[in-house]
């Protein structure tokens, strides 16, 4: 098989897409946002509970999409639980750099290692938006819940 395809659809990604973590709706969420990719019609909803210390206490996501978008959302939820809002924003900036094939800064070694499975996306420019949809939606949820587009 094509090496870049093997990178893109590695087992961890497929596992996350088939068995997404934190999937579902969060009752009493403090922040929610919906994301939409107009290119493919994929949708995602992010639910967050942000506590009074600005810490993300809980997260869920709902939606339908390709393996890349589902795995990316699932990985993201794994990583942002327990983080403060500003830590989550740093995580997102690092993730965006990673999938665009740019130099990645500001990620802890552990987060970097977890997210590394998504690095293969950078070889597929047409698929970067699939990977970033959930992250943009998370950002808009943190910012107050305007509908996000994967741009």
């Amino acid at each position: 098989m094509d090496d870049s395809l093997r990178d893109l659809y590695q087992e961890v990604i497929l596992d996350h897409s088939r068995h997404p973590r934190h999937f579902g709706k969060l009752e009493h969420a403090t922040n929610t946002a919906q994301g939409y990719n107009p290119l493919c019609g994929d949708r995602v909803t992010i639910y967050l509970t942000v506590d009074k210390d600005d810490r993300i206490a809980d997260v869920r996501f709902e939606g339908k999409g390709c393996a890349i978008s589902q795995a990316s959302a699932s990985l993201m939820t794994d990583l942002i639980v327990g983080k403060t809002v500003s830590e989550a924003e740093r995580l997102m900036a690092g993730f965006l750099s990673l999938v665009k094939g740019e130099t990645v800064e500001g990620l802890s070694a552990g987060d970097r290692e977890t997210l590394d499975v998504m690095a293969g996306v950078s070889a597929f420019p047409m698929r970067v938006k699939c990977a970033t949809l959930a992250w943009h939606t998370m950002k808009s949820a943190l910012e107050g819940g305007e509908a996000a587009k994967s741009e």
């Binding site: 098989m1 395809l5 893109l8 497929l14 493919c40 019609g41 994929d42 393996a67 047409m126």
Partner: protein, 414 residues
């Protein structure tokens, strides 16, 4: 059809492929299999050569200068209009308006014809399988003038129910706007019957022929259709040009679309009078080189026995349809009798974009997504589909390559 006696005449796709240099390239080290013809077709050298030859020997602006080149270019531009007339069997070249594509042609009809007839509550009848280009202009009329959109469903096999359509046409219907061929399902609509039913109630009919003109032999006089829209780039021609056929009686009464040069009779400080059709609807410098390319494309297509081309495309479709039966995880959407060579499908547990990415790495270019037909996606309860659309230059061997790539995708994602 008059070509009945020619059915069975050999059409040689291998020979036609020689005209399309791009088909011999590779992608990711694999031979290109181009099955995204529904989005845009490749261009034969005859089209590219004609544009180059014109641009290097006869190009100037049209209808303006008195100089040699302007006259030559005007002649070529008007000759292209005549070629479109002939292709559609319109009564007069004055019934052919050049546009920048199918989308602009439909917007032109919406603005210059339909909008002037709409009172709040008046209706436009559409089918659920329309492309967004034959939906959004009518939504504009809904937003701006209070038009009501009446939707005609398709059957589960993707065919259009003419009786349901008939029932949707009422006293307040001002236009029926239906595609000739669905860009997703491949369904060929019974255009002549639709026109007859609309006319029986005094309602004009617009046909979106962006796919239809590619795969069917169109005779607008036989169809008696009021408006027929085509686009150049799906017809093996260049981008940036399309055409609107409209009956002369309609065009004469229609208000201008864009305002600018070429479309006026006289402009003073206080008033403006407009040119006769088709110039009235062609404001600004038109796509001149593209018109020559479009004419070359139509000549190219018309140079084949089109019934034989159609038979070849149908053979590819039937072969692919049969081939995908081996995959019990794959569901074809759209099986209307007599459909055109467009195959859309959904794969269990595999998103269309993942599938298309893997096919791409095998050299197979297909379309994945909603195909600018979201109401249809809703009708079939899918977010997106994967679509292979076949052109005259495609082959059974290419279908085999796609089937192999699909099996591989299943291995990776399944």
């Amino acid at each position: 059809m008059t070509a009945q006696s020619k059915i069975g005449t050999a059409f040689d796709p291998a020979a036609a492929r020689e005209d399309f240099a791009i088909l011999s390239r590779t992608v990711y080290g694999k031979p290109l299999v181009y099955f995204d013809n529904g989005a845009s077709a490749q261009k034969p050298r005859q089209v590219l050569d004609a544009m180059r030859e014109f641009a290097t020997t006869e190009y100037a602006n049209v209808h303006r200068g008195v100089h040699f080149l302007s006259a030559a270019a005007t002649e070529r531009y008007e000759a292209a209009r005549e070629t479109v007339r002939k292709f559609l069997n319109a009564a007069s070249a004055e019934e052919v308006v050049f546009t920048k594509g199918g989308t602009e042609a439909i917007n032109l009809v919406a603005h210059s014809f339909a909008a002037t007839r709409i009172q709040p509550g008046d209706e436009i009848v559409l089918s659920v399988m329309e492309h967004h280009s034959n939906i959004v202009p009518w939504h504009f009329l809904r937003e701006r003038y209070g038009a009501v959109l009446r939707w005609v469903d398709v059957r589960d096999d993707g065919s259009l129910d003419a009786d349901a359509l008939d029932a949707a046409i009422g006293d307040r219907t001002r236009l029926v706007a239906i595609t000739h061929i669905s860009n997703v399902l491949g369904t060929v609509t019974p255009l002549k019957e639709i026109v007859a039913r609309a006319h029986a109630k005094g309602v004009p009919m617009l046909a979106d022929g962006c796919q239809g003109a590619v795969h069917e032999i169109v005779d607008v006089r036989d169809l008696d259709v009021d408006f027929y829209v085509l686009t150049g780039h799906k017809l093996y021609g260049p981008t940036g040009i399309g055409a609107l056929y409209a009956k002369k009686a309609h065009l004469k009464g229609m208000r201008p679309f864009n305002g600018g040069g070429e479309m006026i009779r006289e402009v003073t400080r206080d008033l403006v009078t407009y040119a006769d059709p088709p110039a009235r609807f062609e404001a600004g410098t038109p796509p001149i080189i593209e018109s020559v390319g479009l004419a070359a494309a139509l000549d190219y297509l018309s140079g084949f026995d089109r019934e034989a081309v159609k038979a070849h495309e149908h053979d590819l479709l039937a072969y692919a349809r049969e081939g995908v039966r081996q995959f019990n995880w794959l569901r074809v959407i759209g099986d209307a009798p007599g459909k055109a060579s467009i195959l859309s499908f959904e794969a269990e547990g595999m998103h269309a974009h993942d599938l298309a990415t893997i096919l791409d790495r095998e050299g197979v270019a297909v379309r994945a997504g909603h195909h600018c037909a979201q109401p249809l996606m809703e009708r079939f309860a899918v977010a997106s589909t994967t679509r292979a659309s076949f052109a005259l230059y495609n082959t059974r061997a290419e279908v085999d390559a796609m089937l192999g790539a699909l099996a591989k995708a299943r291995k990776i994602l399944g």
